[in-house]
Amino acid sequence: MTDTPTRTEPADWATDQEVRWCPGCGDYSILTAMRMLMPELEVDREKTVFVSGIGCAARFPYYMNTYGMHGIHGRAPAIATGLAMARPDLDIWVIGGDGDMMSIGGNHLIHALRRNVNIKILLFNNMIYGLTKGQFSPTSEVGKVTKSSPMGSLDTPFNPMSLVLGAEASFVARTHDMDRQHMMDMFRRAHEHKGAAIVEVFQNCNVFNDGAWEGITKKQNRDANLITLEHGKPVRFGADDEFGVMVENGAAKVVSVADVGEAAILVHDENKADPSTAFMLSRLSRGPFEPTPIGVFRAIERIEYASSSTTQLAMAHNDKGSADLAELLRSRGTWQV
């Protein structure tokens, strides 16, 4: 193991395995962004681990030339938690889709976030089950017609950003698969964060839910419907920044800057300890048909779980002294025969 990471190229992070996502899948651009980011992070391949659950997104580890584990459906955050505790020296990424993370693995996701384990979670949200061939997912809109919901789905979807903010996540961000640079920026920010980070990636499933995010991610729609959050800046969007977001009566709403005046526009503060404003922003949009924020919603400092567990081990060692097995066996009193 070396202290100074060797310089790498994106190609060094690719494996010899044939990538088997459907042609045109949004996962390809996320994979490219990740491979391009890695050399910039100046980290070692052998100290990087990708852990995944099950689903199309969960094949990701096979394509990264690092250590990796393709686990079981929904359990990746739990597997990664054990790994992070045993090995606080590693960079651990968790990859999963909306079915993996929001449905079968919902429990593990929220607990990993509240504990603030040092893992970086990428949630590939395509609002559909892909690998099982097209059933509605926990992020699908109500009324989604699929093979398992021929008359339309009845389930109210999760709003992933609202959910993870409610789960005490210390780093929350969102990006989309049509903007490589923004993805790289968000992944980098997640990597720099000490603790659990979650990045939702709007990702297109061109086979079972093609164009689901087009209303906001397609180039011609971005001006009208994509709000890029930047720390310390007023939340504005539109071709000429003519729109903005203001908070009124406990909710965020889209306004015309000309109507309300610049001073009324919300200035984004990702470090705010109280998650209420971030939550309001997460509720701004009801779906990919109206102005939707991307960027870092929240980035706060909070005690990291795995290193805290290491601290407790060290404290116990200082308090109670050496780990003598023979002493332990005698710790509850002995007698001689």
Partner: protein, 623 residues
């Protein structure tokens, strides 16, 4: 009480006594029993204990459901069970008497707290008339003692509030029994001052209650003698009193040191396994990293993650938790990583009897996963043996890179026995090397790492942990190509991998089974796990009665010892007592076509020696 001077009572020597302390869950019976056990251990008696408590934290006071009991057997000879039936019952209230009386041997001593036998308590216990007066205790030696009143009187002078005064009555009972069995006073005084440090009033009250009980025995003209039980002839050395769950916790710590690996426990609280989580959480100075997960699934998954990272990983649970962990255990089989799953079996199915033992998870340990996912199984036979069995499970897990199931049960978990401490230097070295270099070459002759290239001897795959330069690799639950570990859906490869996984477990080195008793007998008792004590004691009784009997006890349930089929076929008759409906019997019949006769018991109470003895006699007589 009389005001006469201490009487000179005859001291009668006994070879053993089985005392059961029974009272309300809040009466402190476990503490009383524990302390009596400690004093007796220090005196050199052999002993075995059997705590019994309700699943509820505080069941309604005075009811049968709320009875908590602690049985301890002390002897001047080597014993392997806490005894079939108590010879002495200490009953703190009517419910305790009602719940326990039927267990007591005819002619046994019944010491009751008469103050608790009021109308209300009698009614709560379901008595129509007072058993102390209606002849219910005919055939027993009954000793009515107004424990509450004397305790109240004794502690009053220390300024204890009347409401709290009675709480010391368990120490009165302990004092009385300590007098009866000539136990020294000092260790209990020390115990009281340590246990209740900082609570001066409680210390004074408990001391006063203890002395009141002790003196009551001596002065009240109620007892005809007191008793002595000489030290047992045990192998010489240093002993501690240990229960099964602590032995497992210490086994985990020992295994980590022997393997020179950090240990990790992923666990979700569940009765009766939680104490292992508690114990290890308090041993952080030994580097024990514990993780209380959000559920059983995450507990197993986190342990798998830790194992991937190079820790010696454990997950602990009881039956329902094993069901939840099943998916993760399938992954562990496929990943071929070392992992020890500890199942403290309890009555089931479902919530079943959380505080009562059963051995009915054997089939689940063996087959309770999807597809073909073989897993070694190790089962300790006594509380102290839990230590060795844990190390053995770790040895197999590490050497063969496989999940291993350790099957203990609620009986072993909570009962205790003296343990001759091993010399730490003599414990086995179970360490394995991480893989650090290439183990193959590609077409261009360059070094590569093949994560599923097996050791030809053990069929174990290399364990290369993250952080190791050049050996980056991906593993997962999808079928892997033999050698490279790359995803493979090739039919022949899958057949090969299924066969390899099975062959690896089948070839785990397991010591030969041994016969105790008469190796030339025609009749054999086959057992596994916690039934050992009762079967061993039954063996002794049968031999004493002139019968020729053999006993084979299995620690390894998968794979079975290589000589087992041959051994078993040398007997005309084999019976198998187990706390399930015949699970080992089915395995043995299926594997060896030997018609082992089941002897089954599933009432939440371990086999008694007498039950096994009579089952054996019956089987011997049957044609």
């Amino acid at each position: 009480m009389t005001d006469t001077a201490p009487r000179e009572l005859p001291l009668q020597e006994l070879d053993e006594v089985i005392i059961r302390f029974a009272g309300d869950s809040g009466d402190g019976m476990q503490l009383t029993g524990d302390q009596f056990t400690s004093i007796s251990a220090a005196l050199g008696n052999d002993l075995a204990t059997l705590p019994e408590f309700p699943a509820e934290i505080r069941a309604p006071q005075g009811t049968l459901a709320g009875v908590s009991a602690f049985q301890v057997r002390i002897s001047d000879f080597a014993i392997t069970t806490p005894g079939d039936a108590p010879t002495v019952l200490v009953a703190m209230n009517p419910a305790a008497l009602k719940a326990q009386l039927h267990n007591v041997v005819q002619g046994g001593a019944i010491i009751v707290n008469t103050d608790a036998f009021n109308e209300r308590n009698l009614e709560k216990a379901g008595y129509d008339s007072n058993p102390l007066e209606d002849g219910s205790l005919d055939g027993y030696r009954s000793y009515p003692v107004p424990m509450s009143q004397i305790t109240r009187d004794a502690v009053a002078e220390h300024g204890v509030k009347p409401r709290d005064a009675e709480r010391s009555k368990n120490f009165f009972a302990l004092g009385l029994i300590s007098w009866m069995y000539t136990r020294p006073i000092e260790p209990t005084m020390e115990f009281i001052s340590t246990k209740f440090r900082g609570k001066e009033l409680v210390i004074k009250a408990n001391e006063a209650a203890f002395y009141a009980g002790y003196n009551f025995g001596e002065t009240a003209e109620l007892f005809e003698s007191h008793y002595e039980i000489k030290p047992a002839e045990l192998p010489s050395g240093e002993y501690t009193n240990i229960n099964g769950n602590t032995a497992i916790s210490w086994g985990c710590i020992a295994a980590g040191q022997l393997a020179q690996l950090p240990i990790f426990l992923g666990s979700y609280p569940i009765t009766p396994a939680s104490d292992i989580l508690h114990d290890l959480s308090a041993l952080k100075h030994f580097g024990a990293r514990t993780f209380q997960a959000e559920d059983e699934i995450a507990a197993a998954a986190s342990a798998i993650g830790a194992a991937f990272g190079g820790a010696l990983a454990f997950t602990t649970t009881s039956g329902p938790g094993i069901a939840l962990k099943g998916e993760g255990l399938g992954l562990a089989v496929s990943l071929e990583l070392p992992l020890v799953i500890i199942d403290i079996q309890r009555g089931g199915p479902s919530t079943g009897l959380p505080t009562k033992p059963e051995q009915a998870d054997l089939m689940m340990a063996m087959y309770g996963r999807h597809s073909e996912s073989p897993m070694p199984i190790v089962a300790p036979r006594s509380p102290a043996d839990c230590f060795n069995a844990t190390i053995e499970a770790c040895r197999i897990a590490l050497r063969y890179r496989t999940p291993v199931m350790l099957l203990s049960d609620g009986y072993l978990a909570t009962s205790s026995e003296p343990w001759l401490l091993p010399d730490v230097e003599d414990l086995p070295d179970i360490g394995v090397e991480f893989h650090t270099g290439y183990n193959g070459t590609n077409e261009d002759g360059e070094g590569i790492f093949l994560p599923y290239l097996r050791d030809p001897e053990t069929l174990a795959r290399p364990w290369a942990i993250p952080g190791t330069p050049d050996l980056m690799h991906r593993i997962g639950g999808i079928e892997k190509e033999d050698g490279s570990g790359n995803i493979s859906y090739d039919p022949e490869n899958h057949q090969k991998m299924v066969d390899l996984r099975a062959a690896k477990i089948e070839a785990v080195d397991v010591p030969d089974a041994e016969i105790s008793g008469d190796s030339d007998a025609d009749f054999c008792m086959l057992g596994w796990g916690s039934t050992w004590g009762a079967i061993d004691a039954a063996l002794a009784r049968l031999q004493k009665a002139g019968k020729k009997v053999a006993h084979i006890h299995l620690t390894h349930l998968n794979p079975l010892p290589k000589n087992l089929g041959e051994l078993l076929s040398s007997f005309d008759k084999v019976i198998c007592p187990e706390m399930n409906a015949g699970q080992l019997v089915n395995l043995i019949r299926a594997k060896y076509l030997i018609d082992v006769k089941p002897v089954n018991k599933m009432n939440g109470v371990p086999f008694t020696t007498a039950e096994i003895e009579s089952a054996a006699l019956e089987a011997m007589d049957a044609s």
